[in-house]
């Protein structure tokens, strides 16, 4: 069903943004989100928004994909808008019984919605333009300094990479077990909650056991090859910041400063 690692939301398009170093993209997204949340008043939000939209356009991912990606969040956005409209006190525009829509409320609602959509677009941008493996790699490098504080950055990255590889394997395993149980007459669709739970455990128990066997084998294989964690390991693909990365980082810093100054005044 899922062979290979191509599933997920990553869209390989080869734009400038795609080619950026994953670390740069993580920093850009964090900076962008801070700018959007820092913004007070429309001027600063427009500056932050223009930067976010510029980045989104440069990624060459269609706006439709962005909107589709946040489809499930529209309800929250709508809820936010409604709450703001009714709950912010101010001049009444029109009222519905005890509820009143105020001018300030509508303005606040529009501001909050713009802010949320921008933040969602940024989060989407990260997942659209960066493959999971690159993201893992980038976050490992970014978090590496925290190793001194006891954060197992390399180990976490290793966990994620291997888990990614294990997903299709365990799929196959689960498929085999289901078929094996069905061939012995197990039925998963019929019966009440109780019998379904029992049927479920006839899959879960062997699946867990197989998963542990697999991982024991893998751990042994890695230890035999002298793997002992991140210390002193070299890598096949070294991350290296290019000119583009510096340009984007500088732009992000500039936007943050401008937004910061605008909110102060």
């Amino acid at each position: 069903m899922f062979s290979g690692l191509s599933f997920g939301q990553y869209l390989p398009l080869g734009s400038v943004v795609h080619r950026l170093d994953p670390r740069t993209k993580l920093v850009l997204v964090l900076a962008g989100m801070s700018a959007v949340f820092l913004a007070r008043g429309w001027v600063s939000l427009v500056v932050a928004g223009a930067a976010v939209m510029g980045l989104a356009l440069a990624s060459r991912v269609g706006m439709r994909s962005y909107l589709r990606g946040i489809r499930s969040l529209w309800l929250l956005v709508a809820l936010t808008a409604l709450l703001q409209m009714f709950l912010v006190p101010g001049t009444r525009l029109w009222s519905l019984g005890a509820l009143a829509v105020t001018r300030e409320g509508v303005a606040m609602a529009a501001f909050m919605v713009a802010r949320l959509v921008l933040v969602f677009v940024l989060a989407q941008l990260l997942t659209f333009t960066t493959s999971p493996v690159a993201l893992v790699d980038g976050s490992e490098r970014l978090l590496a300094p925290l190793r001194r504080l006891g954060l197992p950055a390399h180990e976490m990255a290793m966990v994620m990479t291997i888990a990614l590889r294990f997903i299709p394997v365990l799929f196959e395993e689960a498929d085999k077990i289901v078929k094996a149980q069905v061939s012995r007459g197990a039925s998963f669709q019929a019966g009440g909650v109780r019998s379904r739970l029992q049927a479920l455990s006839s899959i879960l128990v062997p699946l867990f056991v197989r998963a542990f066997q697999r991982s024991d084998e893998l751990a042994l294989a890695m230890e035999v090859r002298c793997y002992q964690g991140g210390e002193g390991r070299t890598r096949m693909n070294r991350l290296c910041l290019q000119a583009d990365d510096y340009v984007f980082l500088a732009a992000a810093a500039a936007v943050l400063v401008v937004v910061g100054v605008l909110t102060r005044t």
Partner: protein
């Protein structure tokens, strides 16, 4: 080392929510989180659920509700419960190691795990809703949307998880 490796496997096992909808009418993920805690050492259990959360954030569709993955998921009010799985798995592992392995004790451990799940999930729900609503909610309302509708089913899932732990652990040798 071996503990970490085992953790990954569980982390991926979680993914079989893809095959699960045909089998049972509810999400089996809490069960998996609790079983993970029941079988692994605390650190490994937490790492495995943490890895799961991060894989989901990196865009692999492993989460239970749309959009299933991607960094936007942080803004879903229910993301706290995903983080809660980390706490839940860790707690179950801690309690289980202290108490040992009888069905009743395993059940105590998994129920403690459910408590940890809510201890992380509810505050997150509160904070996110606060961002959206722009104001505070009262506690009763919060419990009404995030706690009462689910707690009975989750307690049941804890018992199922305990039963699974008791069945799987001996098959893994020492179960440690």
């Amino acid at each position: 080392m071996a503990g970490v490796m085992a953790a990954l496997a569980c982390c991926a096992a979680v993914v079989f929510r893809w095959v699960q909808p045909a089998l049972v009418p509810f999400s089996v993920l809490p069960v998996v989180a609790l079983v993970t805690g029941g079988l692994l050492r605390p650190r490994a259990a937490a790492a495995s659920m943490g890895g799961y959360a991060l894989i989901g954030l990196a865009g692999v569709p492993v989460f239970a509700s749309p959009p299933f993955g991607g960094a936007v998921y942080i803004f879903k009010p229910t993301f706290g419960f995903i983080l809660g799985y980390v706490a839940a798995a860790w707690t179950v592992a801690q309690v289980r190691r202290r108490l040992g392995l009888t069905p009743l004790r395993a059940a105590v451990a998994t129920l403690a795990g459910v408590a940890a799940l809510y201890a992380v999930g509810l505050p997150y729900l509160y904070l996110v809703l606060r961002v959206y609503a722009g104001q505070t909610l009262d506690l009763a309302r919060l419990l009404e949307i995030g706690f009462w509708p689910f707690i009975a089913l989750d307690a049941l899932k804890a018992l199922v998880a305990a039963a699974l732990v008791v069945q799987v652990a001996p098959r893994l040798g020492a179960g440690e």
